[in-house]
Amino acid sequence: MTSAALRSRAWKLLEMVTTPLLPSDYLDLVSPLRAGADLRGRIEAVHPETGDAATVVIRPGRGWRGHTAGQYVRIGVDVDGVRLWRAYSITSPTDRQDGRVTITVKAIPDGKVSTHLVRRAKPGTLIQLDQATGDFVLPQAKPAKVLYLTAGSGITPVMGMLRDTEFDDVVMVHCAPQPQDVIFRNELHDLVADKKLRLTEVHTDTDGMLDIARLDELVPDWAERETWACGPAGLLDAAEEHWTEHGVQERLHTERFRPGIVVAGDGGEVTFSATGKTVDADGATPLLDIGEEAGVLMPSGCRMGICFGCVTPLKAGAVRDLRTGEITEAEPGVLIQTCVSAAAGPCDIER
């Protein structure tokens, strides 16, 4: 017998010993970051960057496959006992010696996860990780001239690039309300002093929002540069329009942090994605009834919210709990009780 077959036999035996749990349930007690475990990370330190931003140093589990500069990672953090998933750009270079990765988070008002990470996260905390992903990355062949156009926390994926790869001619235009809001300001200025970067800071509190037409004056050769832009939707929309107008849209690479914003309303269009049915729903009828009326095979139980027999993944949109009025927004892994939830705006139910 080969050693692989032997291992698989031994594992089967172990599974018989631990049933109905899995051996990994026990191993997780002692070694949650081991190879073969679900991918997790441990927060090792949280360094403040500005008044409302901090860099979180994460030791990833053994299953971590590394990242490419500019990519992001989805992390699952327990905030007030609830696991919430968010995506953050990786700010550490790919060749960091100790194998740690960092994300840099800006606390946004009402942002549950970002505020938690910046203000409350403690070293030693376990978080859930996905593998790094995203195509906001540098090309194989080095471009001669580079422009980074960023605003606010949009600087984070670009910082990952700056720390990872040196170019001969790099210009950065970065917008932030005030000088002290510029994340990584000291490091950027060190790069400027070393002549590795030309930097223009736009302080929007005093200078106003960046008018994209000003690029002609700030970076006269912008159209010749391979550009990576990241920031609020307004800036990216303007950039895309500007680059298209000048016929150089293939030189622009953009990254949007929040592709869709959920608007919670009263009722909406409900999509049952597995069945491919779409129907209109009011804000008072349980989604279970909506589905059944539309001829979708819905799991059901007590029909009064107590048995949890009807829980179904909410893939997109928002729903309202008819008992408490609480709004639940779609996130990976979010399940809703269809018998006591109604559409709060358009939503997508996996049925």
Binding site: T19, D80, V82, F308, E331
Partner: protein
């Protein structure tokens, strides 16, 4: 069913007000759920796993009597924790709000011969929706016993103290059979039903796995302690079964608990549903350790009102619920474990015989219940 309707003094408005007050208690707990609660269930799960590992480790040397005693006691407690505070409550969706896929009603499997999925249907859905409604809630005597005067007597019931004792010893198998509705489904025609066969197969798989683990693999791993480990795992399962059976019996069988007629729940409002849960359940009083070991089902009344609130909150909820019982002049059935167990067993014995005097039919009462 008692001759006097314990809700006769309440008006329709009062019952709806009671419902609103209970909703407010529920909302408050839901709004306050957080990190501490999450830490609690994680701690309990981790403690249970460690206790089970250590106990099974000790049992490898169970040929030595002190090791046998220690390991058996530890394994019994671990199995009770898995069944009660962890399994029962997770499968009720009490921890689903954490969004942790590993501690979730849709993924959890317990060390019990009834598969989670089947138990959730018969328990969460049927029993909790139709609590104590004769003919709808099979938990009233599990179909093998008569636990209320209004249930029809049959000579079969003469043996019910014995059936109940056997059921206590092999309770998890009783539950599995119950979840399968074995009595009904063993009829020739139903046996062939593919859906029933699939469910029976699932139970068979679970039984095989548990038996293999407890009665073959673990004893074999113990080598010279084979027989003593076998005895230990058998004892632990027995202890768990008798304990859970006793706790469950205390939930709805003690004297003073009301049962309801099928007709009475027609068009039931939220307030009336709450009221039925209040009158149809009974608590066990005792220490924190007692509450923990019963999986907080000692707070059966609170659990039936709010089956999806985290179990660690029932104690604080109980204070408010009890105040409502007093306010609305209702009987809060509770007592220490021995008293409640005795009361439940007493009923089992008493109702094994036909009713002493012919029950006076009270047509008014049905009217009242429908109107209530």
């Amino acid at each position: 069913m008692t001759a006097i309707d314990p809700t006769a003094h309440l008006t329709t408005e009062q019952i709806e007000e009671l419902g609103r007050e209970l909703d407010a208690i529920r909302d408050e707990v839901i709004a306050g759920r957080g990190e501490k609660d999450a830490a609690y269930i994680r701690k309990v799960i981790s403690a249970q796993r460690k206790l089970e590992l250590v106990s099974r480790g000790v049992l490898l040397f169970s040929i030595f009597p002190p090791a046998w005693l220690l390991g058996t006691a530890g394994l019994s407690v671990a199995k009770i924790m898995d069944n009660m505070e962890i399994g029962h409550n997770i499968l009720h969706g009490q921890w689903d709000w954490m969004r942790d896929p590993k501690i979730h009603s849709t993924t959890w499997e317990w060390d019990h011969v009834s598969p989670s999925e089947q138990w959730k249907h018969s328990h969460n859905e049927l029993h909790h929706t139709y609590t104590n409604v004769i003919g709808k809630d099979n938990d009233l005597g599990y179909g093998i016993m008569r636990v209320d005067e209004d249930q029809k007597w049959h000579p079969f019931h003469l043996g019910q103290p014995l059936w109940n004792f056997i059921n206590a010893c092999f309770f998890e198998y009783g539950i599995a059979a119950y979840d399968l509705e074995l009595g009904k489904n063993l009829h020739k025609r139903r046996r062939k039903n593919p859906e029933f066969r699939a469910r029976a197969k699932a139970v068979g798989r679970k039984i095989r796995k548990q038996v293999l683990k407890d009665y073959v693999i673990h004893p074999l791993l113990s080598g010279p302690s084979f027989l003593t480990t076998l005895a230990a795992t058998f004892t632990a399962n027995l202890v768990r079964n008798i304990w859970t059976h006793s706790v469950i019996m205390c939930g709805h069988f003690p004297e003073g608990v009301q049962v309801f007629e099928r007709r009475s729940i027609k068009g039931e409002t939220r307030g009336q549903w709450y009221l039925r849960q209040m009158l149809g359940s009974a608590n066990i009083s005792g220490s924190k350790a007692m509450h923990f070991m019963t999986g907080n089902l000692s707070h059966q009344i609170e659990h039936h009102l709010f089956p999806d609130l985290p179990s660690n909150r029932y104690a604080e909820v109980a204070v408010k619920v009890r105040a409502l019982f007093e306010k609305y002049e209702l009987e809060y059935v509770t007592g220490p474990l021995p008293k409640q167990v005795f009361s439940a067993w007493h009923k089992v014995f008493r109702l094994s015989l036909p009713n002493k005097k012919p029950k006076v039919k009270t047509p008014d009462r049905e009217q009242e219940l429908v109107a209530a």
